[in-house]
Symmetry: C2
Subunit: 226 residues, 2 copies
DNA sequence: ACCTGAACACCGTTCAAGT
DNA sequence: ACCTGAACACCGTTCAAGT
Protein backbone atom coordinates (compact mmCIF):
# COMPACT_ATOMS: atom_id res chain seq x y z
CA UNK A 1 0.00 0.00 0.00
CA UNK A 2 3.02 2.32 -0.14
CA UNK A 3 2.11 5.55 -1.96
CA UNK A 4 3.81 6.75 -5.16
CA UNK A 5 5.49 9.59 -3.25
CA UNK A 6 6.17 11.82 -6.28
CA UNK A 7 7.96 14.96 -5.18
CA UNK A 8 5.00 17.22 -5.76
CA UNK A 9 5.56 20.75 -4.52
CA UNK A 10 1.99 21.35 -3.46
CA UNK A 11 2.71 20.10 0.04
CA UNK A 12 5.90 19.35 1.91
CA UNK A 13 4.80 15.78 2.55
CA UNK A 14 2.01 13.83 0.94
CA UNK A 15 -1.01 13.14 3.07
CA UNK A 16 -0.98 9.91 5.05
CA UNK A 17 -2.80 8.36 7.97
CA UNK A 18 0.28 8.86 10.14
CA UNK A 19 0.55 12.55 9.30
CA UNK A 20 -3.17 13.05 9.96
CA UNK A 21 -2.89 11.42 13.38
CA UNK A 22 0.21 13.46 14.22
CA UNK A 23 -1.54 16.72 13.32
CA UNK A 24 -4.64 15.65 15.26
CA UNK A 25 -2.61 15.11 18.42
CA UNK A 26 -1.06 18.55 18.06
CA UNK A 27 -4.48 20.15 17.68
CA UNK A 28 -5.90 18.23 20.65
CA UNK A 29 -2.94 19.22 22.82
CA UNK A 30 -3.27 22.87 21.84
CA UNK A 31 -7.03 23.25 21.87
CA UNK A 32 -8.37 20.43 24.01
CA UNK A 33 -11.20 18.13 22.99
CA UNK A 34 -12.80 20.90 20.96
CA UNK A 35 -9.55 21.76 19.21
CA UNK A 36 -9.85 18.97 16.69
CA UNK A 37 -12.37 19.57 13.91
CA UNK A 38 -12.22 18.70 10.25
CA UNK A 39 -11.93 22.39 9.55
CA UNK A 40 -8.90 23.01 11.79
CA UNK A 41 -7.37 19.72 10.73
CA UNK A 42 -7.71 20.20 6.97
CA UNK A 43 -6.43 23.76 7.31
CA UNK A 44 -3.33 22.60 9.20
CA UNK A 45 -2.73 19.89 6.61
CA UNK A 46 -3.35 22.33 3.74
CA UNK A 47 -6.06 20.19 2.19
CA UNK A 48 -9.83 19.72 2.16
CA UNK A 49 -11.96 17.62 4.49
CA UNK A 50 -12.61 15.07 1.75
CA UNK A 51 -8.91 14.22 1.53
CA UNK A 52 -8.86 13.26 5.19
CA UNK A 53 -11.77 10.88 4.69
CA UNK A 54 -9.71 9.01 2.13
CA UNK A 55 -7.33 7.95 4.91
CA UNK A 56 -9.61 7.59 7.93
CA UNK A 57 -13.16 6.33 8.35
CA UNK A 58 -14.62 9.01 10.62
CA UNK A 59 -13.88 11.20 13.61
CA UNK A 60 -14.39 8.41 16.12
CA UNK A 61 -11.71 6.32 14.40
CA UNK A 62 -9.43 9.33 14.29
CA UNK A 63 -9.81 9.92 18.03
CA UNK A 64 -9.15 6.26 18.81
CA UNK A 65 -6.06 6.26 16.60
CA UNK A 66 -4.73 9.44 18.22
CA UNK A 67 -5.42 7.94 21.63
CA UNK A 68 -3.59 4.76 20.71
CA UNK A 69 -0.57 6.72 19.51
CA UNK A 70 -0.25 8.09 23.04
CA UNK A 71 -1.16 4.92 24.93
CA UNK A 72 0.85 2.32 22.97
CA UNK A 73 4.35 3.56 23.90
CA UNK A 74 3.32 3.93 27.54
CA UNK A 75 2.13 0.31 27.65
CA UNK A 76 5.18 -1.03 25.81
CA UNK A 77 8.08 -1.29 28.33
CA UNK A 78 8.27 -4.67 30.13
CA UNK A 79 9.42 -3.47 33.60
CA UNK A 80 11.38 -6.58 34.56
CA UNK A 81 12.30 -7.64 38.11
CA UNK A 82 9.32 -6.23 39.89
CA UNK A 83 6.41 -7.63 41.87
CA UNK A 84 3.02 -7.76 40.14
CA UNK A 85 1.90 -4.99 42.47
CA UNK A 86 4.76 -2.75 41.38
CA UNK A 87 4.13 -3.43 37.70
CA UNK A 88 0.46 -2.51 38.16
CA UNK A 89 1.47 0.68 39.95
CA UNK A 90 3.92 1.48 37.17
CA UNK A 91 1.41 0.86 34.40
CA UNK A 92 -1.25 2.90 36.18
CA UNK A 93 1.09 5.80 36.89
CA UNK A 94 2.37 5.82 33.32
CA UNK A 95 -1.18 6.08 32.11
CA UNK A 96 -1.99 8.78 34.64
CA UNK A 97 0.95 10.88 33.50
CA UNK A 98 0.00 10.43 29.85
CA UNK A 99 -3.56 11.57 30.57
CA UNK A 100 -2.25 14.44 32.66
CA UNK A 101 -0.13 15.59 29.71
CA UNK A 102 -2.95 14.96 27.19
CA UNK A 103 -6.27 15.25 29.04
CA UNK A 104 -8.28 14.43 25.90
CA UNK A 105 -6.84 10.89 26.11
CA UNK A 106 -8.94 10.29 29.22
CA UNK A 107 -12.11 11.01 27.30
CA UNK A 108 -10.94 9.11 24.22
CA UNK A 109 -10.18 5.99 26.27
CA UNK A 110 -13.68 5.91 27.70
CA UNK A 111 -15.15 6.08 24.20
CA UNK A 112 -12.79 3.45 22.76
CA UNK A 113 -14.52 0.47 24.37
CA UNK A 114 -13.07 -2.84 23.25
CA UNK A 115 -10.73 -1.09 20.83
CA UNK A 116 -6.96 -1.40 20.70
CA UNK A 117 -5.93 1.16 23.35
CA UNK A 118 -8.19 -0.45 25.95
CA UNK A 119 -6.99 -3.91 24.99
CA UNK A 120 -3.37 -2.88 25.52
CA UNK A 121 -4.14 -1.73 29.06
CA UNK A 122 -6.35 -4.73 29.79
CA UNK A 123 -3.61 -7.10 28.68
CA UNK A 124 -0.93 -5.39 30.72
CA UNK A 125 -3.02 -5.34 33.90
CA UNK A 126 -4.53 -8.78 33.34
CA UNK A 127 -1.19 -10.55 33.19
CA UNK A 128 -0.31 -9.09 36.58
CA UNK A 129 -3.69 -9.91 38.09
CA UNK A 130 -3.11 -13.50 37.04
CA UNK A 131 0.36 -13.36 38.61
CA UNK A 132 -1.25 -12.21 41.84
CA UNK A 133 -2.99 -15.56 42.12
CA UNK A 134 -6.54 -14.48 41.36
CA UNK A 135 -8.59 -17.52 40.28
CA UNK A 136 -9.54 -17.84 36.64
CA UNK A 137 -13.21 -17.07 37.08
CA UNK A 138 -12.54 -13.93 39.14
CA UNK A 139 -9.90 -12.43 36.86
CA UNK A 140 -12.33 -10.50 34.70
CA UNK A 141 -14.06 -8.82 37.65
CA UNK A 142 -10.67 -7.99 39.19
CA UNK A 143 -9.11 -6.40 36.09
CA UNK A 144 -12.39 -4.62 35.48
CA UNK A 145 -12.16 -2.98 38.89
CA UNK A 146 -8.69 -1.66 38.10
CA UNK A 147 -9.66 -0.61 34.59
CA UNK A 148 -12.86 1.14 35.64
CA UNK A 149 -11.04 3.00 38.38
CA UNK A 150 -8.30 4.15 36.00
CA UNK A 151 -10.82 5.15 33.33
CA UNK A 152 -12.86 6.92 35.97
CA UNK A 153 -9.90 9.06 36.99
CA UNK A 154 -9.03 9.63 33.34
CA UNK A 155 -12.54 10.68 32.40
CA UNK A 156 -12.72 13.00 35.39
CA UNK A 157 -9.36 14.56 34.52
CA UNK A 158 -10.56 15.12 30.97
CA UNK A 159 -13.82 16.70 32.14
CA UNK A 160 -11.99 18.95 34.60
CA UNK A 161 -9.52 20.08 31.96
CA UNK A 162 -12.31 20.82 29.49
CA UNK A 163 -14.30 22.77 32.06
CA UNK A 164 -11.24 24.77 33.14
CA UNK A 165 -10.35 25.57 29.53
CA UNK A 166 -13.87 26.68 28.73
CA UNK A 167 -13.93 29.10 31.63
CA UNK A 168 -10.29 30.15 31.30
CA UNK A 169 -9.23 28.79 34.67
CA UNK A 170 -6.00 27.14 35.65
CA UNK A 171 -6.04 24.04 37.81
CA UNK A 172 -5.71 25.77 41.17
CA UNK A 173 -8.34 28.45 40.55
CA UNK A 174 -10.64 25.73 39.22
CA UNK A 175 -10.24 23.69 42.40
CA UNK A 176 -10.68 26.88 44.40
CA UNK A 177 -14.04 27.52 42.75
CA UNK A 178 -15.26 24.01 43.47
CA UNK A 179 -14.05 24.32 47.04
CA UNK A 180 -15.97 27.57 47.51
CA UNK A 181 -19.11 26.08 45.97
CA UNK A 182 -18.92 23.21 48.45
CA UNK A 183 -18.41 25.53 51.42
CA UNK A 184 -21.61 27.32 50.44
CA UNK A 185 -23.70 24.12 50.68
CA UNK A 186 -26.23 23.66 53.48
CA UNK A 187 -24.34 22.64 56.68
CA UNK A 188 -27.20 20.37 57.73
CA UNK A 189 -27.31 18.41 54.51
CA UNK A 190 -23.65 18.47 53.48
CA UNK A 191 -21.47 18.23 56.61
CA UNK A 192 -18.92 15.89 55.04
CA UNK A 193 -18.59 17.73 51.74
CA UNK A 194 -18.07 21.02 53.56
CA UNK A 195 -15.54 19.51 55.95
CA UNK A 196 -13.47 18.18 53.07
CA UNK A 197 -13.65 21.20 50.77
CA UNK A 198 -10.33 22.70 51.85
CA UNK A 199 -8.50 19.35 51.77
CA UNK A 200 -9.82 18.83 48.25
CA UNK A 201 -8.53 22.22 47.09
CA UNK A 202 -4.93 21.40 48.01
CA UNK A 203 -4.85 17.71 47.14
CA UNK A 204 -2.29 16.07 44.86
CA UNK A 205 -4.07 14.26 42.01
CA UNK A 206 -1.22 11.85 41.44
CA UNK A 207 -0.82 10.86 45.07
CA UNK A 208 -4.56 10.31 45.49
CA UNK A 209 -4.69 8.32 42.26
CA UNK A 210 -2.01 5.98 43.55
CA UNK A 211 -3.77 5.71 46.91
CA UNK A 212 -6.82 4.41 45.09
CA UNK A 213 -4.74 1.85 43.19
CA UNK A 214 -3.22 0.73 46.49
CA UNK A 215 -6.66 0.34 48.05
CA UNK A 216 -7.71 -1.99 45.24
CA UNK A 217 -4.41 -3.90 45.43
CA UNK A 218 -4.88 -4.34 49.18
CA UNK A 219 -8.37 -5.64 48.52
CA UNK A 220 -6.98 -8.16 46.06
CA UNK A 221 -4.30 -9.26 48.52
CA UNK A 222 -6.82 -9.58 51.35
CA UNK A 223 -8.97 -11.78 49.12
CA UNK A 224 -6.30 -14.02 47.57
CA UNK A 225 -3.24 -14.08 49.81
CA UNK A 226 -4.57 -16.10 52.71
CA UNK B 1 -41.43 33.99 40.91
CA UNK B 2 -44.70 32.07 40.40
CA UNK B 3 -45.98 32.59 36.85
CA UNK B 4 -49.28 34.29 36.08
CA UNK B 5 -50.71 30.99 34.81
CA UNK B 6 -53.46 32.46 32.66
CA UNK B 7 -55.42 29.66 31.06
CA UNK B 8 -54.07 30.29 27.61
CA UNK B 9 -55.10 27.62 25.12
CA UNK B 10 -51.87 27.67 23.14
CA UNK B 11 -50.32 24.96 25.31
CA UNK B 12 -51.69 22.57 27.88
CA UNK B 13 -49.24 23.78 30.51
CA UNK B 14 -47.13 26.91 30.55
CA UNK B 15 -43.42 26.41 30.05
CA UNK B 16 -41.34 25.98 33.18
CA UNK B 17 -37.93 24.73 34.17
CA UNK B 18 -39.50 21.61 35.66
CA UNK B 19 -41.40 20.80 32.49
CA UNK B 20 -38.28 21.34 30.37
CA UNK B 21 -36.28 18.96 32.53
CA UNK B 22 -39.05 16.38 32.47
CA UNK B 23 -39.23 16.48 28.67
CA UNK B 24 -35.43 16.33 28.43
CA UNK B 25 -35.33 13.14 30.48
CA UNK B 26 -37.94 11.57 28.25
CA UNK B 27 -35.96 12.46 25.13
CA UNK B 28 -32.70 11.18 26.62
CA UNK B 29 -34.36 7.91 27.65
CA UNK B 30 -35.84 7.44 24.18
CA UNK B 31 -32.95 8.56 22.02
CA UNK B 32 -29.85 8.31 24.16
CA UNK B 33 -27.29 11.07 24.56
CA UNK B 34 -27.98 12.27 21.03
CA UNK B 35 -31.72 12.30 21.55
CA UNK B 36 -31.74 15.65 23.32
CA UNK B 37 -31.31 18.67 21.06
CA UNK B 38 -32.93 22.08 21.19
CA UNK B 39 -34.79 21.12 18.06
CA UNK B 40 -36.33 17.92 19.43
CA UNK B 41 -36.93 19.57 22.79
CA UNK B 42 -38.65 22.69 21.50
CA UNK B 43 -40.74 20.58 19.16
CA UNK B 44 -41.89 18.34 22.02
CA UNK B 45 -42.68 21.39 24.13
CA UNK B 46 -44.44 23.09 21.21
CA UNK B 47 -42.30 26.20 21.43
CA UNK B 48 -39.16 27.75 19.99
CA UNK B 49 -35.58 27.31 21.15
CA UNK B 50 -35.48 30.86 22.49
CA UNK B 51 -38.26 30.10 24.97
CA UNK B 52 -36.17 27.33 26.51
CA UNK B 53 -33.25 29.70 27.02
CA UNK B 54 -35.49 31.89 29.12
CA UNK B 55 -35.67 29.10 31.73
CA UNK B 56 -32.23 27.46 31.48
CA UNK B 57 -28.74 28.82 30.90
CA UNK B 58 -27.41 26.37 28.31
CA UNK B 59 -27.32 22.72 27.38
CA UNK B 60 -24.70 21.83 29.97
CA UNK B 61 -26.94 23.17 32.74
CA UNK B 62 -29.87 21.28 31.28
CA UNK B 63 -27.94 18.00 31.28
CA UNK B 64 -26.81 18.54 34.88
CA UNK B 65 -30.37 19.35 35.97
CA UNK B 66 -31.74 16.26 34.22
CA UNK B 67 -29.00 14.18 35.81
CA UNK B 68 -29.79 15.55 39.25
CA UNK B 69 -33.47 14.77 38.82
CA UNK B 70 -32.48 11.10 38.47
CA UNK B 71 -29.72 11.05 41.08
CA UNK B 72 -31.38 13.03 43.90
CA UNK B 73 -34.15 10.53 44.74
CA UNK B 74 -31.68 7.64 44.60
CA UNK B 75 -29.40 9.37 47.13
CA UNK B 76 -32.25 10.41 49.41
CA UNK B 77 -33.25 7.37 51.53
CA UNK B 78 -31.36 7.04 54.83
CA UNK B 79 -30.99 3.23 55.03
CA UNK B 80 -31.01 2.94 58.80
CA UNK B 81 -29.64 0.00 60.83
CA UNK B 82 -26.86 -1.02 58.49
CA UNK B 83 -23.08 -1.13 58.65
CA UNK B 84 -21.16 1.58 56.78
CA UNK B 85 -20.11 -1.09 54.30
CA UNK B 86 -23.71 -2.04 53.60
CA UNK B 87 -24.76 1.56 53.18
CA UNK B 88 -21.93 2.12 50.68
CA UNK B 89 -22.98 -1.02 48.79
CA UNK B 90 -26.58 0.18 48.80
CA UNK B 91 -25.70 3.66 47.57
CA UNK B 92 -23.43 2.29 44.86
CA UNK B 93 -25.98 -0.27 43.68
CA UNK B 94 -28.75 2.31 43.62
CA UNK B 95 -26.61 4.49 41.42
CA UNK B 96 -25.65 1.58 39.21
CA UNK B 97 -29.30 0.69 38.65
CA UNK B 98 -30.17 4.29 37.88
CA UNK B 99 -27.38 4.49 35.30
CA UNK B 100 -28.41 1.14 33.89
CA UNK B 101 -31.95 2.45 33.39
CA UNK B 102 -30.72 5.84 32.09
CA UNK B 103 -27.27 5.32 30.55
CA UNK B 104 -26.90 9.03 29.68
CA UNK B 105 -26.71 9.71 33.45
CA UNK B 106 -23.28 8.04 33.50
CA UNK B 107 -21.95 10.50 30.99
CA UNK B 108 -23.73 13.45 32.59
CA UNK B 109 -22.25 12.65 36.00
CA UNK B 110 -18.71 12.68 34.62
CA UNK B 111 -19.32 16.12 33.11
CA UNK B 112 -20.98 17.53 36.22
CA UNK B 113 -17.78 17.94 38.23
CA UNK B 114 -18.31 19.68 41.54
CA UNK B 115 -21.97 20.23 40.75
CA UNK B 116 -24.94 19.15 42.83
CA UNK B 117 -25.36 15.54 41.65
CA UNK B 118 -21.72 14.74 42.40
CA UNK B 119 -21.93 16.49 45.76
CA UNK B 120 -24.94 14.36 46.75
CA UNK B 121 -22.98 11.17 46.05
CA UNK B 122 -19.80 12.49 47.66
CA UNK B 123 -21.70 13.39 50.83
CA UNK B 124 -23.46 10.06 51.06
CA UNK B 125 -20.25 8.05 50.60
CA UNK B 126 -18.13 10.41 52.67
CA UNK B 127 -20.23 10.05 55.80
CA UNK B 128 -19.79 6.29 55.61
CA UNK B 129 -16.06 6.50 54.95
CA UNK B 130 -15.80 8.58 58.08
CA UNK B 131 -17.83 5.98 59.97
CA UNK B 132 -15.37 3.34 58.79
CA UNK B 133 -12.66 5.02 60.85
CA UNK B 134 -10.59 6.50 58.05
CA UNK B 135 -8.42 9.30 59.45
CA UNK B 136 -9.32 12.88 58.56
CA UNK B 137 -6.45 13.47 56.20
CA UNK B 138 -7.07 10.28 54.24
CA UNK B 139 -10.81 10.71 53.83
CA UNK B 140 -10.61 12.65 50.58
CA UNK B 141 -8.39 10.08 48.86
CA UNK B 142 -10.62 7.26 50.09
CA UNK B 143 -13.94 8.74 48.93
CA UNK B 144 -12.24 9.71 45.69
CA UNK B 145 -11.34 6.09 45.05
CA UNK B 146 -14.96 5.02 45.48
CA UNK B 147 -16.26 7.96 43.45
CA UNK B 148 -13.80 7.49 40.60
CA UNK B 149 -14.58 3.80 40.41
CA UNK B 150 -18.33 4.43 40.33
CA UNK B 151 -17.97 7.19 37.75
CA UNK B 152 -15.67 4.97 35.71
CA UNK B 153 -18.29 2.23 35.54
CA UNK B 154 -20.98 4.80 34.80
CA UNK B 155 -18.99 6.42 32.00
CA UNK B 156 -18.19 3.04 30.51
CA UNK B 157 -21.86 2.01 30.66
CA UNK B 158 -22.84 5.23 28.93
CA UNK B 159 -20.22 4.75 26.21
CA UNK B 160 -21.26 1.14 25.64
CA UNK B 161 -24.92 2.08 25.38
CA UNK B 162 -24.15 4.88 22.94
CA UNK B 163 -22.01 2.61 20.78
CA UNK B 164 -24.62 -0.16 20.78
CA UNK B 165 -27.38 2.29 19.85
CA UNK B 166 -25.34 3.79 17.03
CA UNK B 167 -24.73 0.38 15.50
CA UNK B 168 -28.16 -1.02 16.32
CA UNK B 169 -26.88 -3.73 18.62
CA UNK B 170 -28.41 -5.06 21.80
CA UNK B 171 -26.24 -5.69 24.82
CA UNK B 172 -25.47 -9.34 24.13
CA UNK B 173 -24.59 -8.92 20.46
CA UNK B 174 -22.45 -5.91 21.40
CA UNK B 175 -20.50 -7.97 23.94
CA UNK B 176 -20.28 -10.76 21.37
CA UNK B 177 -18.64 -8.42 18.87
CA UNK B 178 -16.08 -7.24 21.41
CA UNK B 179 -15.41 -10.84 22.41
CA UNK B 180 -14.78 -11.83 18.79
CA UNK B 181 -12.50 -8.85 18.22
CA UNK B 182 -10.44 -9.88 21.24
CA UNK B 183 -10.20 -13.49 20.07
CA UNK B 184 -8.74 -12.23 16.80
CA UNK B 185 -5.84 -10.47 18.55
CA UNK B 186 -2.29 -11.79 18.23
CA UNK B 187 -1.88 -14.77 20.64
CA UNK B 188 1.73 -13.79 21.37
CA UNK B 189 0.91 -10.24 22.37
CA UNK B 190 -2.55 -10.67 23.91
CA UNK B 191 -2.67 -13.99 25.77
CA UNK B 192 -4.65 -12.65 28.71
CA UNK B 193 -7.17 -10.68 26.69
CA UNK B 194 -7.87 -13.69 24.48
CA UNK B 195 -8.18 -16.03 27.46
CA UNK B 196 -10.77 -13.78 29.06
CA UNK B 197 -12.81 -12.94 25.97
CA UNK B 198 -15.46 -15.60 26.51
CA UNK B 199 -15.78 -14.88 30.23
CA UNK B 200 -16.27 -11.20 29.38
CA UNK B 201 -19.05 -11.98 26.91
CA UNK B 202 -21.19 -13.69 29.54
CA UNK B 203 -20.39 -11.55 32.55
CA UNK B 204 -22.97 -9.86 34.77
CA UNK B 205 -22.31 -6.11 34.91
CA UNK B 206 -24.03 -5.67 38.23
CA UNK B 207 -22.23 -8.54 39.96
CA UNK B 208 -18.85 -7.37 38.70
CA UNK B 209 -19.61 -3.80 39.72
CA UNK B 210 -20.32 -4.93 43.26
CA UNK B 211 -17.16 -7.07 43.27
CA UNK B 212 -15.15 -3.91 42.53
CA UNK B 213 -16.85 -2.05 45.37
CA UNK B 214 -16.06 -4.96 47.70
CA UNK B 215 -12.41 -4.93 46.64
CA UNK B 216 -12.12 -1.26 47.59
CA UNK B 217 -14.01 -1.84 50.86
CA UNK B 218 -11.64 -4.70 51.70
CA UNK B 219 -8.72 -2.41 50.99
CA UNK B 220 -10.15 0.18 53.35
CA UNK B 221 -10.70 -2.42 56.05
CA UNK B 222 -7.19 -3.82 55.63
CA UNK B 223 -5.79 -0.32 56.04
CA UNK B 224 -7.90 0.95 58.94
CA UNK B 225 -9.21 -2.02 60.91
CA UNK B 226 -6.04 -3.28 62.49
C1' DA C 1 -5.40 6.23 -6.41
C1' DC C 2 -5.73 10.33 -4.29
C1' DC C 3 -7.34 15.04 -3.71
C1' DT C 4 -10.57 19.30 -4.05
C1' DG C 5 -14.06 22.06 -2.15
C1' DA C 6 -18.86 23.08 -2.47
C1' DA C 7 -23.00 21.33 -0.49
C1' DC C 8 -25.90 18.94 3.01
C1' DA C 9 -28.14 18.16 7.26
C1' DC C 10 -27.44 19.26 11.64
C1' DC C 11 -25.97 21.57 16.07
C1' DG C 12 -26.16 25.23 20.26
C1' DT C 13 -26.98 29.92 20.84
C1' DT C 14 -28.55 34.77 19.98
C1' DC C 15 -31.70 38.43 19.40
C1' DA C 16 -34.98 41.70 17.40
C1' DA C 17 -39.63 41.49 17.52
C1' DG C 18 -43.91 40.33 19.45
C1' DT C 19 -47.58 39.71 23.48
C1' DA D 1 -42.19 38.70 32.02
C1' DC D 2 -42.29 35.41 28.76
C1' DC D 3 -42.40 33.66 24.07
C1' DT D 4 -41.50 33.44 18.80
C1' DG D 5 -38.71 31.99 15.08
C1' DA D 6 -35.41 33.53 11.80
C1' DA D 7 -30.51 33.96 11.65
C1' DC D 8 -25.63 32.90 12.91
C1' DA D 9 -21.50 30.38 13.27
C1' DC D 10 -20.30 26.01 13.54
C1' DC D 11 -20.11 20.80 13.10
C1' DG D 12 -19.19 15.86 10.69
C1' DT D 13 -19.88 13.82 6.38
C1' DT D 14 -20.75 13.23 1.34
C1' DC D 15 -19.81 13.43 -3.41
C1' DA D 16 -19.32 15.00 -8.19
C1' DA D 17 -15.50 16.62 -10.25
C1' DG D 18 -10.75 16.91 -11.01
C1' DT D 19 -5.58 15.02 -11.48
Amino acid sequence: MAGKQRNSSRREQSLSRARIIEASIELLDIGGEGGLTFQTLSKRLATGPGAIYWHIDNKSDLMTAACDAIVAPVMAPPLMDATPEDVIRGVALGLFDAIDAHPWVGSALVHAVGRLPSARILERLGQQVRALGVSDDEQWATVSALLNYIFGVGGQNAANAQFARKHDLNRSTFLGEVSIAWLLLDPEEYPFTRSIAVQMRDHDDRVDFLAGIDLILKGIQATWHR
